[in-house]
């Protein structure tokens, strides 16, 4: 035990001067607790619902109001036909479609139980289960003749966990690997002194950033193929939509993740810090992106944070194409959001890089 106390003392002195480690050890867990305590919430409410009211009577309105009063169902759109409503479910504009058939009021009047058509998007198991409950036990039935909800789970009808988890998992795994690929690139050159030499050459800053990014983008797209392969062969989860479209739409996500790594690399002072930041960036992507629990459950500020994270949009793309069979045009908003995030991150790292030299 010779020297034990000296070592303890010197470690404390190191800690006192290493602000980053101190902050990560003390402040971060609190922030994470708060953030994730709000984020992980399986009590889904306000499920986005599209209504097809073919009866259009006071009775049908009353039924819809009662459903809304449960807080589980929020009406976001009205469609003319059940086909149009199904289309909205496929692009992800709504999660549930309710069709009230013509003669709804008359059936009640006659003392019968009218049938109501319910379509549910099964690509998110939490939402799907909650929506089914909302219709199966109508909390306030009408004065007479309780409507009979015929539930049809459109995608992943067997509620297979793999079908629902794998597309999200692909996004998470891809992000873990890609962020790490570039997170060390600049800071490693800083540590080894090679950046000093590079900076006195006429190499452009944007050229440096994009040059660091491009080879890893190719590598990451290769990884993506490997991940799709495992998803299909091992878990039997293949894309209902076009694999080619999915592959193409993955590119901006890969670029955004690599750019995030690059940004980390310009902020971190050492490779050790880069590793800590990389792990940090992963937690929100896991918990806020809709991978674990639906984004509908998040409070507004958290929802906003999740909107600027690449994984959020990419999970909607993977689930859309793989589970619901959505096409390219259905997912354009997510695609452009990813492109915007990638561009902003690349510009931000170029700017950060310039500052870090001074």
């Amino acid at each position: 035990m010779n020297g034990f106390w000296s070592i303890v003392l010197i470690e404390f002195m190191h800690l006192r001067r290493d602000k980053t480690t101190l902050i990560i050890a003390l402040v971060l867990p609190m922030m994470q607790m708060i953030l994730f305590g709000y984020a992980i919430n399986f009590d889904v409410k306000h499920i986005q619902t599209v209504v097809v009211d073919l009866d259009n009577t006071p009775e049908s309105k009353q039924y819809l109001d009662r459903l809304h009063a449960t807080h589980y169902i929020d009406y976001v759109a009205y469609a003319k036909t059940p086909e149009k409503a199904a289309g909205m479910l496929q692009d992800g504009a709504a999660r549930v479609g309710v069709t009230i058939p013509p003669g709804f009021a008359r059936t009640i009047e006659a003392g019968g139980n009218p049938q109501v058509g319910v379509m549910i998007d099964g690509s998110d198991a939490q939402v799907s289960v909650r929506a089914q409950l909302a219709f199966l036990s109508p909390p306030a039935s009408l004065p007479k003749g309780a409507p009979d909800a015929r539930i049809n789970v459109l995608f992943n009808p067997s509620s297979k966990t793999a079908t629902f988890m794998i597309p999200g998992l692909i996004a998470v795994i891809l992000q873990v690997v890609t962020v790490a690929l570039t997170a060390f690139s600049i800071v490693r050159e800083k540590e080894q002194g090679t950046l000093e030499q590079l900076m006195v050459t006429p190499v452009g800053r944007l050229a440096l950033m994009l040059g660091k990014l491009a080879p890893y983008a190719i590598l990451a797209m290769g990884e993506l193929l490997a991940v799709f392969f495992v998803s299909d062969v091992v878990f039997g989860v293949s894309a209902r939509g076009s694999l080619l479209v999915l592959f193409f739409m993955s590119l901006p996500f890969v670029l955004a993740s690599l750019a995030l790594g690059l940004l980390i690399s310009t902020i971190a002072q050492t490779q050790g810090q880069a590793l800590q930041f990389t792990q940090l960036s992963l937690m929100p992507s896991l918990l806020l992106s809709g991978y674990v629990s639906p984004r509908e459950t998040m409070p507004g500020w958290l929802y906003l944070i999740s909107t600027v994270m690449p994984a959020t949009h990419y999970i909607e793309i993977t689930r859309g194409i793989m589970v619901r069979g959505a096409g390219f045009s259905d997912l354009l908003p997510q695609f452009f959001a990813l492109i915007a995030i990638a561009v902003v991150l690349i510009l931000l790292s170029t700017f950060r890089f310039r500052k870090s030299l001074a």
């Binding site: 002194g193 090679t194 000093e196 900076m199 006195v200 050459t201 006429p202 190499v203 001074a358």
Partner: protein
């Protein structure tokens, strides 16, 4: 009209409240070996970074190879070479790959790149090692490789930031032989060093201290400066058996202004009217004998010590 390789006027860089480089005026002639000296933290590196177009000045101006460092940093970078004290090429790449990479960044392609690579490899004598990982080369060979990389685009001006720090004396000498060849060929060299023998080899010297240039000139001009060899003093070298102990005794004497050990001798700065005899007596009083009395010139080390001392006293 021969434009100077480097010309600065009032060049200044402030970091928040701290002034790292304060109104520096320099002119470096084409083809000269310019020695930029000064203690660590005096502003040397900041000054070099501004001259290389990496860091923007906050005041004054500087032209390098005729380009303004603030307005045309990319042109400056294109026309200079830079060699740093710590090895700053890619260790996992071979010298050939490193040279290829840096050559291509400067826009060299195809046959031109190939012939330049051959030329610099020949110049520094790196032929035997071109294909082994650069990280496995010895310190001296690493510095030769770094010099080759700095020369790949035939820059008329090279910055060498302590190029010989930490390499052995033989490698140091042969690197300097290379530098003389370059200067002979018309390349301007801007060198920083802490080695006085290297400073002696420079055609011009500027000494920066506490962010300011305090003296400049040729080595012999510097040695004649009044604050280095004050009126009424002379420099004397003596030999004794136990120099450190004798030195201790001599330092206490009123007529000794400065005393130091050099090459097993004692170098003294004494009043002019003090004779060799007086010194001899003083040494004998301490139980030792002094011999080999001879008058000497101040060394560059003496120059810098004297100048900083006189500044600190102010």
């Amino acid at each position: 009209m021969a434009v100077n390789a480097i010309e600065t006027k009032g060049l200044t860089r402030k970091f928040e409240s701290m002034t790292a480089v304060d109104s520096v005026d320099l002119s470096v002639e084409k083809g000269s070996i310019f020695g930029f000296l000064g203690p660590n933290g005096s502003g040397k590196s900041t000054c070099i970074r501004m001259l290389c177009g990496v860091l923007e000045p906050t005041g004054g101006q500087a032209t390098v190879n005729g380009f303004d460092v603030a307005k045309q940093p990319e042109d400056v970078k294109r026309t200079i070479g830079y060699m740093s004290q710590s090895f700053s090429l890619y260790r996992d790449l071979s010298p050939r790959e490193n040279l290829q990479f840096f050559g291509s960044i400067y826009g060299l392609r195809g046959d031109k790149l190939k012939s330049r690579m051959e030329a610099v490899v020949d110049l520094v004598g790196l032929q035997k090692y071109v294909d082994q990982p650069s990280g496995t080369l010895s310190g001296g060979w690493k510095q030769r490789l770094a010099l080759a990389a700095a020369l790949i685009h035939e820059p008329p001006l090279i910055f060498l930031d302590e190029p010989t720090a930490g390499i052995d004396p033989v490698a140091r000498r042969s690197l300097w032989d290379l530098l003389f060849d370059l200067a002979g060929g018309g390349t301007t060299l801007f060198v920083t060093t802490h080695y006085m023998d290297e400073a002696e080899r420079c055609s011009q010297i500027a000494y920066i201290y506490m962010s300011k240039i305090i003296i400049r000139g040729t080595p012999s001009e510097l040695k004649r400066l009044p604050q280095v060899s004050p009126e009424g003093t002379r420099r004397l070298a003596i030999e004794t058996e136990d120099p450190p102990r004798v030195l201790m005794g001599l330092k206490k004497l009123p007529f000794v202004r400065d005393a130091t050990l050099a090459e097993s001798e004692i170098h003294l700065l004494i009043d002019k009217e003090t004779s060799d005899e007086d010194v001899s007596k003083a040494v004998s009083a301490g139980g030792q004998t002094a011999s080999g009395f001879r008058n000497i010139e101040p060394s560059l080390e003496d120059v810098f010590v004297a100048v900083t001392k006189s500044l600190e006293q102010q």
